[in-house]
């Protein structure tokens, strides 16, 4: 019996009940207060979870990767996952206490925790991670997270303290992430994209890593895929991209925003640093399988790879992995198709230059775009809107049929578009988000699709507005 824990759970559950009774979300407050009563709540409850937890973090893609992993792993495990909730410690605590019995018993045998980049070091200490997955690390809301370099040092410290039985899953293509294998005493699995050609428009990159983390020489790339991710090597020391065991080749991104990708699972890492030729797969081990899934762009290929690596490490059969991924539909606001009567809306969340660039690159595959871009500067969006100038809107200039801007900093976007050579009428600038959506939908013909690109808090307003207008979406249950 643990009186403190039981009292914390009781209080957390009561707050949950009260919040739900008044129709509010209960993903943050219950955990926040329960942790005040028993700061060890997460540690104590996590101990009960038989197979431990899968921890997923990174600047871009953590929500989608965690949801993909959930869909695949739930074919075999009883999973607890902060799917709807906050990705801070309080969100993990809320999820745990809501599923626990009043006496603190849990039925799940595996946890999947999506965690905020800055929360990861704290979370790694308390959730008994069996697997830690690091997707990428890029500039994002510098006013919240600080610099990429200092965040990476915090990750490094956290990883050096992981036990040897924890498996590390790392993106081989991000030099700042793959480097972290050096401080881990246990096993590392790498995933990456081996293709050298991508059928997406070229984009001006924003790179946060330009120098070798060993010797500070300038890094070279035989193939740069996005931001600072690709096939890199240091011309001065021996640092280079590790060969991944899980990788993708022959990537085809289609104009209906679906993808066809050849994935190779379980490829044994060769002792010598040579990249496997496509014809070697199968002969030298590794299973090749072609995946067709309903997610666009290069960034989602990385999310799929991350989820495959997790599933593979937890002994899910390739056939099951493929089935779950091909049936997956995207998470809230991250590429979400919504029917509005006979008209269609697709939402792409944008929140930082590298992520937004990949969205722009993906939509620039099409012509005559009808776009509504919404920029807010609340705390969750980042107060500083400078990042829109690091984002390559220029790639859309020749692709726009009509563009509208909205949000608290609508005029900042309007000016950005003017300087990107995108023609925008000052009649298409609306601070009010609901009004901007009404206006865009009214002028949208039934054949066309409206692409909405909101920042995080703007996305919440988009959701409310579309619901009011009768969208048939159960947002929270996605």
């Amino acid at each position: 019996m643990n009186i403190k824990l039981i009292f914390a759970i009781f209080v957390g559950k009561t707050i949950t009940y009260l919040l739900k009774a008044i129709g509010r979300g209960a993903t943050t407050a219950p955990g926040l207060y329960a942790l005040k009563i028993d700061p060890k709540l997460i540690e104590k409850l996590s101990r009960q979870i038989k197979y431990g937890s899968v921890l997923i973090t990174g600047t871009n893609g953590k929500t989608t990767t965690a949801r993909l992993a959930y869909d695949i792993l739930s074919t075999k495990y009883k999973i607890i996952h902060n799917r709807q909730g906050s990705n801070l410690l309080r969100g993990i605590a809320s999820t745990l206490l809501q599923q626990a019995s009043l006496l603190g018993n849990l039925k799940s045998d595996l946890a999947i925790w999506e965690v905020d980049e800055a929360t990861f070091p704290e979370a790694a200490k308390v959730v008994h991670p069996k697997i830690v997955t690091l997707l990428n690390l890029m500039r994002d809301q510098l006013d919240r997270y600080g610099e990429v370099d200092s965040l990476r040092l915090q990750w490094q410290e956290a990883i050096s303290k992981l036990p040897s039985k924890t498996t590390l899953i790392l993106n081989a293509d991000d030099p700042g992430v793959s480097f972290l294998t050096n401080v881990h005493i246990g096993k590392t699995i790498f995933f990456g994209i081996n293709a050298t050609k991508i059928n997406l428009p070229q984009i001006t990159n924003v790179a946060d890593i330009k120098h070798c983390l060993n010797c500070h020489s300038k890094l070279s790339y035989s193939n740069l895929l996005t931001a600072h991710m690709g096939h890199y090597f240091c011309p001065n020391c021996k640092l280079k991209r590790p060969n991944p065991q899980i990788f993708a080749q022959n990537l085809q991104f289609k104009s209906n925003f679906s993808s066809r990708v050849d994935l190779i699972l379980n490829f044994p890492r060769p002792r010598q640093a040579t990249r496997p030729r496509p014809d070697e797969v199968g002969k030298r081990g590794g299973q090749l399988s072609t995946f067709n899934y309903n997610l666009p762009g290069l960034y989602n290929a990385y999310n799929v790879l991350g989820a495959c690596a997790i599933a593979n490490a937890l002994s899910i059969q390739p056939k099951e992995i493929k089935k779950s991924i091909e049936n997956f539909s995207a998470a809230f606001g991250r590429f979400q198709k919504i029917k509005m009567g006979k008209k269609q809306v697709i939402i792409f969340l944008i929140k930082n230059p590298a992520g937004a660039n990949e969205v722009l690159r993906t939509i620039a595959q099409k012509e005559k775009l009808d776009v509504l871009a919404i920029l807010n500067d609340n705390i969750a969006d980042g107060r500083d809107v400078s990042w829109i100038w690091d984002t390559d809107w220029e790639v859309l200039a020749s692709k726009i049929k009509r563009i509208t801007v909205s949000g608290i900093r609508a005029w900042d976007l309007a000016t950005r578009f003017k300087y990107a050579g995108i023609t925008l009428s000052n009649k298409n600038v609306y601070k009010d988000i609901n009004y901007s959506i009404t206006h865009c939908l009214r002028n949208l013909s039934t054949k066309d699709t409206l692409l909405i690109l909101p920042t995080y808090t703007a996305l919440l307003d988009v959701q409310k507005s579309l619901n009011k207008k009768g969208a048939l979406v159960k947002w929270q249950l996605q």
Binding site: V148, R383, D384, V385, I388, D390, W411, T415, K418, K431
Partner: protein, 264 residues
């Protein structure tokens, strides 16, 4: 035969000092020149590149991560003489945050480490534990205000308040000015140089330093045009800029100021 009017822009260390969206300043200078038929060239000058004192009309130096700033600080020493010479010959320079700090006498970090600057600005910076991170609104210093007002080309002179600058600051270094420099302006909302003496930025000849990200120039077109005009006049003598339709820019300027006021 008339040759096209050209401005040569030098982007200092764009590969290392590019973290805070300051690229918008370069885009703005290029576009505002282009819309007036002025040609521009942009040269990236980084580690180990030679910097000539006569090649450029405008220099831009943005902010970067701490580690990058140390690497750049070392390399900048080799370029110091020519850069200072260029500024003494009336070239125009805009530096922001990390770039601004490296052009001062020195930067003493929180751990007591000294990063040597090049002393273009008579100022120094001391690391602090406070992060000064918010929208920043300043009143431009009176001398400069007059020059900007008389130089900004507009068809509706009274409509636009050319007396302020607005942007976003994000720094923990506190900058203190010596007697040889003027502040760029007086802080109305935010911290500015150090959060103590109400000064923001520094001016020495045509060189400007400040903590204004945002990007700065797109939403402060009067300052953008002032920099362009100063650079043109240095090379071509008395010259006037054609007015542009700056409706969007001024709306952005105003809405950023309103946002700043609502948060203070």
């Amino acid at each position: 035969m008339a040759t096209a009017i050209t401005l040569n822009i030098c982007h200092l260390y764009p590969d290392l000092m590019d973290t805070y969206g300051d690229k918008g300043n370069i885009i703005t200078i290029i576009k505002r020149c282009q819309w007036r038929g002025i040609e521009t060239t942009v040269s990236s000058i980084s580690i180990n590149d030679r910097l000539d004192s006569q090649n450029f009309d405008i220099y831009f130096f943005g902010g970067g991560q701490d580690q990058a700033q140390i690497i750049v600080g070392r390399d900048l020493q080799k370029k110091a003489k020519n850069l200072i010479k260029a500024i003494d010959n009336e070239s125009v320079l805009l530096s922001i945050c990390g770039g601004y700090q490296l052009l001062q006498e020195y930067f003493k970090t929180l751990n007591g480490e000294m990063i040597k600057g090049i002393g273009l600005f008579d100022a120094y910076t001391i690391g602090s534990t406070t992060r000064m991170m918010q929208n920043l609104l300043i009143e431009i210093n009176p001398d400069l205000q007059n020059q900007i007002q008389s130089s900004y080309p507009t068809t509706q002179p009274s409509n636009h308040p050319t007396t302020q600058l607005v942007g976003f600051e994000n720094h923990s270094g506190k900058t203190y000015l010596g007697s040889e420099v003027q502040p760029l302006g007086e802080v109305l909302i935010g911290a500015g140089n150090n959060g103590e003496d109400k000064t923001e930025g520094a001016v020495y000849k045509n060189a400007f330093g400040c903590y204004l990200h945002g990007s700065l120039l797109p939403k402060n077109p009067h300052f953008a045009d002032y920099l362009v005009l100063k650079a043109l006049q240095r090379r071509y003598g008395q010259i006037k800029l054609k007015p542009l339709d700056d409706t969007f820019e001024w709306q952005t300027h105003k809405s950023a100021i309103n946002r700043t006021r609502s948060q203070s």
